[in-house]
Symmetry: C2
Subunit: 151 residues, 2 copies
Amino acid sequence: MENYYLRKRVITTLVSTGLLTKVFAVQAFAEKELELTTTQFLVLGFVCDNDGLYQRQISAVLLKDRPNITRIINILEKKGLVERIPDKSNRKVFKIHATEKGREVHKYIEPTMIAVREEATKGISNDEIEFCMSILERIQDNLKEKVKMQI
Amino acid sequence: MENYYLRKRVITTLVSTGLLTKVFAVQAFAEKELELTTTQFLVLGFVCDNDGLYQRQISAVLLKDRPNITRIINILEKKGLVERIPDKSNRKVFKIHATEKGREVHKYIEPTMIAVREEATKGISNDEIEFCMSILERIQDNLKEKVKMQI
DNA sequence: TATTGTTATACTCTATAACTATA
DNA sequence: TATAGTTATAGAGTATAACAATA
């Protein structure tokens, strides 16, 4: 049977823990004087791991709408971290490509993010993490199809 | 032994699930033409549940810094949903109080939030929810002391 | 006509510093 | 001097609508 208060608490806890983790990362970034916001780092990291994606794909996975992705890619491009490569087979779209500098900056920042993650999950076993993640993924599955944005 | 990739994935999943849940709530609010942002609703809800708190206390729990809480309370006050009550024993501070209208608006919006939470946790048992929440709380405990803001 | 990306606009949120008033 | 709250400012993110170009 469903438990109203439990579900209220878990969603509240989920949102606040996500926020807390983000704030903690922002402050770790500030301490190290890293020149990217966490959002920009998120996009850069995703592009580094998945070279040549269309903006639309980045948009869908990272849950930023099209104008937002345009803006963030502009910032990263201005900083010389990514490039828009025209797609030969479809002149309407671009493939987003991490530059050498982009990969270096990402590599330079990564240890800070690793420290953030280790701090956040300190004292929690792999099994516990894995179980928690599986529940979070089910929550994502429940919502993913239902969220509409300008993608 | 720690697993680097697992910890990367769980933090990514945590932040993105929190974001997704928030976006879903925002859209549910928009559909119903509710006149509050989710952040404003969060603050209003917290004030309704905990009448007479100082701004500083709201600030600490909701992880918004002082200027931010000032701004949000201003918005809620302008909408007639909360009041600043001067504290008799300390003329420097205010107790934040939900007005009758504030409680009504909160009550009116609550079913939408309940639907959001039910949708998000559909098909997940109470035990699973509880376990997941306990892990999230441990992550919070790991980070809470380390986050500094203008509070 | 539908899709991808851009532009414009307006608002909310965030972060920091500096200020006021009180303790 | 420290604390609670406010003000000012700048920038980042979000949401929507409308537009251009291409498929």
